[in-house]
Amino acid sequence: MSEGPRDAIRRGRIAAAVVIGAMAIPAVASGHLERPSYWPDPAPDRAVSPAAGGAVPKARSLASAVNGKGAGNVRVVCKRDSLDLALKSIKSANKRGFRLRPSLPKRKISDQKAKQLRHANRVFARECSFGSIQKAVDKSRNNDRIVIMPGRYTEPKSRKAPVNDERCNPSLLQKDQSGAMTPSYRYQAKCSNDQNLIYIQGRAVKGEPLAEPDPDRHGIPEQELGRCIRCNLQIEGSGARPEDVLLDAGKGYKDAQRRGERPGSKGTSPEDCLAAPDGQDNPCYAKHVVIRGDRTDGFVGRNFLLRGAKEHGYYTEESDGVLLDRVKFFWNADYGHLSFTTDHNVVKNCDGFGSGDAVVYPGAAPQTGEFRDEGFYKKERFNTVIKKCDLHGSAMGYSGSMGNSVRVTRNNVYGNANGLTSDTISAPGHPGFPADGQKVDHNLFYSNNLDIYRDDAPFVPLVPQAIGTGIMWPGMNDGEFSNNRVFDNWQYGTLLVAIPDAVAGESDGNADSQNHCPATALPGVPAASTSCANRYHANKMGAVPNGFGPHPALAKFGNKSGLLDDVVPDQLPNGVDFWWDEFPTSNNNCWYNNTGPDNTRDSLTGDPPLNPAGANTSLPGFLPEACASATGSPVYGAKGVLLLECFAEWESGLAPDGNCTWYDMPARPGTPAARADQAEFEARMRDLGKTPEAKRIDAYMQEVAGEVNLGPGE
């Protein structure tokens, strides 16, 4: 009996579910390792007045720090020349203007604003009583605020604190059930400058961590949740521009005052910088983190630049209520910003570059989406928002493992190897499996063509990424990618792949109780769990917005961009607009109402291709456009082998240099070189489909499908 398309689809679905069940091995992963970490109680802490957390905090105006109105004390930190620097910067901002972000036009501050800023800084200069930010933090309590006047702050005392301090290591390391050692909260509180240039302890140390971490990560365990001691703290720069106040964990600069200078630029290569051991003799880095805020509910950071960390610029964990506004992240070797298990979290008007992983990373974000614990999170909501930022000049602009219910909106993401990745490659240690509910809307993803793997790479790439990619979702569920402009990304506009895993055992708080992938009716077989129900719609692909042109930082580090042509074209196609792996159980993914370079559906490109039957349908072997009926493909073998190679550095041996093109600089779309590369790639994929490995994958699924009793009515 011949098999119709519907049967084929059904077989593919069932087969893959069984395959995954047979694997019976769930997700793994990580880009970031941390102590067993819990999502904070999202309710406001009313033991503090005003209450801490429960919402994104509102920034208090700089003027209110001058007149002293409102709750809390004000502490001013300054350098000897801070007032001069402030006045000079204010004058420049008033007369010549400045760009808050490279993609924005220069704007001048008004005469009135300049006058206010001059007055404020004169008052701050009179009241300044701290030379060290850490000292001001240590003196601060709930509701207090710290104003930092213009200057470069290196925190000499913090720099002298030893890494792996014997006062805390190993006695305050926390052991998890696997025996892995991580610094506990008490470790960070006691040896606060071991890893961090500036450490903010939000809550008191109360008791010991649980002997065995609670697998349910909803709420910091009562026995270790101390009272607020520095909740609702606000730290802000008093300059006209964020760059006026520089918090610097780096050293070895040719010119330390130049804000864009790389640590170690005086004569140490980026590789040698990272390889050098910690300590006073390190030629480039004094500390791993510039600011760490631990359990800092209600924290506001505004108007400063964080530079030169060996790992992260800003790092917060287990905090409820964080606002970063007008904050810049330059040359932080791992992440510019890293928030972990943090709620009511907003980063806006930011700018960053020079990260070997990503400029911003909201990881293990709370599960506040459709399948949340409704007893803990009453309403479905986004818990983290990244908006109005320039994310550029890094391996990735944005990354986040288990970035549940994060909204990314109105950003400019350019000049990276890969603009954005949010993945489910982290289950243990990253609460919230699987990642779901991310919304990416109204952003511009363009010219992410930075070759970070070339010999003279400008920074050290710490992670494997596909050069020339707008966005990648490895293992996202229920994601929405809408109303974005995606153009001039030479390998992929967007890429969606499944992480072939499954939840084993009972989900108990860390993992979602349900997920968006189809459950299988087979007893004992867990559900496939990643890459389902993602929607791409209303995006304009390959078309340059009217009036859009080159801007500073676009060509930073030698990034390639069609916007740098003598005449900016109307169309700058992506290598392929939509690439999908077609994993068999990846159901309900759909791409609809999008347009290509000529503003029509017909000019969109896809792998698999768009179906020739027209819009709003889902046919096997084509890019689905009708969400409800969209299914994966039973023929996944070739792409499966390719992804094994790309993700797992596993070589099939078919081609001398492998088949994965992620780490090669792609040719510009539309050129003869790009056409030749595409033809070669298609030929390789055909050959890959004939390999024993691909055949085994497909045969395995087919064999399983043949043994499945589909039951009455199937």
Binding site: V28, L33, P215, D216, Y453, P461, P464, I499, E649, R696
Partner: protein, 148 residues
């Protein structure tokens, strides 16, 4: 999946160290090791070996990178794998995860770190990505158990 800690016979080690090791050879190696009961280490004193890479807070897992890996001794490599595995494959989070066997991790790190651009790749990231696709690899290599 069976994993052995800091213990391997040299012949298997040597074979796993070679790039482009074929699936069949790897399978044989794995089987041989299983039969060998995860015997002695390459030098016989792996219990003394320390993991390579910069330690931070009691573990090298966060910062160990390819440049550390390529200069490591066989025993140090096994110790490094064990440290990374203990951090990535945590058992405290309600979700379990596939662990890479020593020989599989050796292959991943040896292959990946041989790339000239990978000197600073974080080993924990490479491990996690490979582990995420390990079930699929086993099917592709014919190592997966038969379908139910």
């Amino acid at each position: 999946m069976r994993t052995c800690k800091r213990s391997r016979v040299r012949s298997i080690w040597d074979r796993a160290n070679k790039r482009h090791l074929g699936p069949a050879a790897l399978g044989l190696a794995a089987a041989a090791m299983a039969l060998a009961g995860c015997g002695s280490s390459p030098s016989g004193d792996s219990a003394e070996a320390e993991p390579v890479g910069q330690e931070l807070g009691g573990s090298v897992a966060q910062l160990a990178q390819c440049s550390d890996w390529v200069g490591a001794t066989p025993d140090e490599k096994l110790a490094t794998i064990e440290d990374i595995r203990s951090q990535v494959n945590r058992e405290d989070a309600g979700v379990t995860a596939s662990a890479l066997s020593d020989e599989r991790a050796l292959e991943v790190f040896n292959n990946g770190c041989a790339e000239p651009f990978a000197a600073s790749f974080r080993l924990n990231v490479m491990y996690a990505r490979a582990a995420a696709f390990e079930p699929l690899r086993q099917i592709a290599e014919g190592e997966a158990p038969p379908p139910p």
